[in-house]
Symmetry: none
Subunit: 414 residues, 2 copies
Amino acid sequence: MKQINAEIIAVGTELLLGQIANTNAQWISQELSTYGVNVFYHGVVGDNLKRVADTFSQAKDRSDLVIVTGGLGPTEDDLTREAFQLVSKLDIMEHRPSLNKIEAYFQKQGMEMTPNNRKQSHVFTNANVLENKVGMAPGMIVSQQKQNWVFLPGVPKEMKQMMKDDVIPFIQEITENESIIESMVMRFIGIGEAKLEDEIIDIIQSQVNPTIAPLAQADGVVIRLTAKADSINTASNLLQDTKRKILERVGSHFVGINEETIDRKIISLLKEKGKTIAAAESLTGGKFTENLISVKGASTVCSGGIVCYNTNVKTDVLGVSAKTIAEEGTVSEACAIEMANKVRNLLNTNIGISFTGIAGPEPIENKPVGLVYIALCDENTQFVVEKCNFHGSREAIRRKAVLKGFELLLNYLK
Amino acid sequence: MKQINAEIIAVGTELLLGQIANTNAQWISQELSTYGVNVFYHGVVGDNLKRVADTFSQAKDRSDLVIVTGGLGPTEDDLTREAFQLVSKLDIMEHRPSLNKIEAYFQKQGMEMTPNNRKQSHVFTNANVLENKVGMAPGMIVSQQKQNWVFLPGVPKEMKQMMKDDVIPFIQEITENESIIESMVMRFIGIGEAKLEDEIIDIIQSQVNPTIAPLAQADGVVIRLTAKADSINTASNLLQDTKRKILERVGSHFVGINEETIDRKIISLLKEKGKTIAAAESLTGGKFTENLISVKGASTVCSGGIVCYNTNVKTDVLGVSAKTIAEEGTVSEACAIEMANKVRNLLNTNIGISFTGIAGPEPIENKPVGLVYIALCDENTQFVVEKCNFHGSREAIRRKAVLKGFELLLNYLK
């Protein structure tokens, strides 16, 4: 397979004003990555002829493949063609089939076609014209001096249609892509990004295929593995080998691969073991239950729960003893254990889990913000209790408490 | 006011792989635009020393202000400092206050600090160091040869904190911006972006100060007003005038301004009226309660709730009559009313609210995906019941149900 280095350039002042995010570049990058093209740069430039031309000149000097989105429309601001003409010296002509389509569109809508709309049918003389099946302006592939330029509309729907129909097949051709690219995301919980990288730094540094990239996410840390090979089989084997090596080091924190996020993993483990769960949530306010229920098919294993934010709900609805609360406080190991036990009994489930603690901003019961107790029990009334001291905002403390609950549950179910 | 031309550079291979979109550049662009700075380019470059340094070199030749996000973390991949050192020839030193903070963080968490975390405290010797109040790595402002470089973490929360606390005041200083810029975000619920724009299109088109920009968000629609004037007083008056004009048209959907999001507004209205609330949630799985409890100070008005995802929980814990469920089904007006009433009684609150419906992917009780009943009752057993037909994914249906609940509650409390 031929190595191709690409860059993606978006043309449009609306991006520089922050009116929209450059999600086109994100989407195209995902596609190029899958097909083994290296993306080295994204650029965004406004609707200014000189600056667009300068940006194109630079791309001409450094990239094998340049994908440009936007600036192909009918208005004065749409300058992509004019800017590329300055750089390429190519001639522009009217593309009759595209013009016919544009004229037909206006006729059908009963609208007058203003003269500037003709511009949308303009293409470079030697271009491979890409049909726009969902809009007006056609796309183009222009090959010049061993370099390939792809021009696409900025409207995401039109851009994606041309990428799928024309650009991806073209890329497979120019990359002489006979090799297969496979990737895998490994998900971890209860370990930081730095610590995880530290544990496997020698593996990361000593190998290039698959590549290994750790990344922190809201629900843990992921490692992305990307393998290149002559066959699916070889690529899969490369991924599996590396996965095994990584799991030997940090397997105790492993959740699952690809779409198997912690909430999905918990739901599938509960199903596998035939266990049901209910939660008693104080500071987390329903966040734990809501995360589980967001997984489709959760209804067979997650019955629901009691959000007992108020102390009265802990005693009157859940049935935690007033004595426990008077003697130990609501933020205590004893209260957490009773909460887990009571919610399990009340909702008649196999597992009960509870969260009680202080999200802040104010301390309660003379205990510090961030102190959280999480208890887990089952039908044999075996308890796991975790005392945690979390830091950060109210939101962060509540999120960390839920994640710690998932971690405890994962370890219990594994 | 001095004209400043800026560019924004994001460093991170995850962007080039399309794992995330460059929303940092969008957010920073909005801010710079508010403060009258021209943004001419966005760039994204991967974690590669030479390419990051090349990108910095180019920025050095063309921009007055360069804002760099990402690459300040603890791992080998974090190369922003090293790349800027190649370009600037500046020395790097350990910033003791930042290192103390990082060490304290690990100590407090009871976690071992791996050596690579020291790197996060490295700064350029002549830098103006920006405190990271929500994370570890500090930011920096480096001024060199009439050019200003701002280095910020890639984590959006950390980046935004430093922009607000340090970078915006710095920008006002270097732009010699003596005119006052005041902005206001007006929040709306229960109306779409297109409909809202349609209702006030003449106001939008006929005025330039303040500018009026509607934007759809996850919890409704916002309108951002930005006024420029010689004094705070004049700017505030301009904002208030426009706010009043807009409220005359769409006031019935108005939630609040700036940080007054719908959940905060609900909590403050509950406090104001001295009312408490409890929720019985089926398809929403605790999402409504969790949103309210995320607001600090919620404990005095939000007692908690019952997540009755399973039918048995609706009957056995909440006390919905088996007859209602047998005759009308769980997804019915009758069931919703009983749920709201029972949760109010059980948790002894002024208001009860309930959510029952079908988030999908499968229909239940021969009723379609997206059908949701929301009921609201108070001590006079007055009922508001809303039957909704929502469209979209499981996640979208659950989110829309919670928002509709907020809307009903807002109208009830207003």
